[in-house]
Symmetry: C2
Subunit: 356 residues, 2 copies
Amino acid sequence: MKKTALIMAGGRGERFWPKSRKSLPKQFLSLTDDGRTMIQLTVERIRPLMDLEDIYISTNRAYRGLVMEQLPGIPPENILCEPVGRNTAPCIGLGAVHMAKKYEDALMMVLPSDHLIKYNQMFLNALKDGCGIAQKGKNLVTIGITPDYPETGYGYIKFRPQEADGNAYAVDRFVEKPDVETAKEYLETEEYLWNSGMFIWKVSTILDNMKSMLPDMYDGLFKIAEAIGTDKQEMVLEKVFPELESVSIDYGIMEKAQNIYILPGVFGWDDVGSWLAVERIQKSNERGNVVTGNIITINSKNNIIQGGKKLIAAVGLENLIIVDTEDATLICDKGSTPDIKMVLENLKICNREEYL
Amino acid sequence: MKKTALIMAGGRGERFWPKSRKSLPKQFLSLTDDGRTMIQLTVERIRPLMDLEDIYISTNRAYRGLVMEQLPGIPPENILCEPVGRNTAPCIGLGAVHMAKKYEDALMMVLPSDHLIKYNQMFLNALKDGCGIAQKGKNLVTIGITPDYPETGYGYIKFRPQEADGNAYAVDRFVEKPDVETAKEYLETEEYLWNSGMFIWKVSTILDNMKSMLPDMYDGLFKIAEAIGTDKQEMVLEKVFPELESVSIDYGIMEKAQNIYILPGVFGWDDVGSWLAVERIQKSNERGNVVTGNIITINSKNNIIQGGKKLIAAVGLENLIIVDTEDATLICDKGSTPDIKMVLENLKICNREEYL
């Protein structure tokens, strides 16, 4: 069966301010040593499984230019621009109706555009396994991540170890972000995986599920689908999409659906969730500093410093994140990364749009 | 007797990097809220005692333009440019021979250009007291600062409480920077004052002392004096001055001389010795942050942040000094200010002159 992918690239990436901005979010940034952006790495990663013309990018209209610039091989009609953000269910639905129009049915992989994966071949093997299971009946497949530690920032998925199909297990249930005690219990049972937001299913399967669980959304998507390829395509999208319910695919479908399987993924996954991720993905020097740019460090250790041409001198510093851009500099204690959003709130309140 | 002043403005102010540079040292910067530079404040402070034409500025040739720009009222011939830095004894000697040439004899106040004084009237009273004592015989007068705490970064001067002349005391001896235990003992005796580097004497008195204690220097200065006002002035200065012994006035004269008096100064003196001084001289907000420029602070306290137009966001920071300039940013723990010189050493070694 034809393999396709929908790469979701509509996010704002506020946690990477000041490098990520409204006009240049995280997925369009390079956060690794090799210079390629997150979305470029995402596309290259799955190229062994499919052609560029089978890859769809879902994004905000404002980022169409960035997608075309960074991914020149993707056909322009595969760049699906949402008039407004409506969470993942409408996003995935829009991708599905486009694929249904082109291929009638196909295997659809849903992938975030801003995660990193270290062991590509193992990741491809997991996708292939997932395709095998998704082709059977009306299975919904998700890829879970074997947890390393009791993270409280991710959702978890409980599986049934005794109900295996090849490398996959039947899903028992999706659970919200736990507190740390609950997360520890999850790890001890060895029956929980992190929810990575990666899915595989047939286009027909996900649309069937939408029809039964999100019927209004399905009707809306059907109207949009009818207009694809006509001169009314943009107009209908513009009118109908904003009216779709804003709901996640997890809440709208996965938490209620049957026939869900999960593949435990062990391929060096990293969701690059904050500046702290930089020290996991870039090399540090002998004092634990991870530096990029024109930097002098004196008696400083375990800092993340992202500069450019401007000289940054760090003297006697420990456990700081320093990010310098043309018009703004962030200096943040490693323990305070969640508070970066307070900077953005402050900027919004003061109408300082130029920094957002 | 005619009152004159020599303001010493040849210093480099490396401790205020990156704002102070070779091309713009500390005395030419504004570090207070009111916008005037250190040297401008120094001149304005003594204006009630003398005219601008009686004020001399000793500086490095590279700073002549800055002096003329910041102090347009000072006669150009009063700007004494040293071909090379030779410590304070030759600097003061050069000032003295210029004054001797113009006034024959006069009262000469020697003042640093980069200190701050809070209570100006009390400072002027001290200078007037000092002039009274310096006029008698061959007295050398220095102004000491009543110590607040056992500072180890200053020299101390021991006086004899029983030998008073008005508000002044006879000096027992000059002592080098002590260790902290010794400094504590000094404070307990109440017979030691901080050496502020401010002096008052007659031009004839200091030249007489030079003649007996630094005869080679005196001879050199005499040659320079003979050429003042002739077309050979610059040539002789250029030839003779670099050959003068590089020695401080403290070591060369004050530690050996007789008839030294000291006036205890209580006028809110601050030598503005490092970035830490900024929190003494500028207002802090309710969380103890002292900020200038385009700054957002989130959960941050007791920081000194000197920015400009560029946005600086400080998140979860404590006890840091952040100084942003056009081409360089310093981020330094408050406990590490002495290590700022290591940044400069690093830049020198790497021939990165543009940042010095």
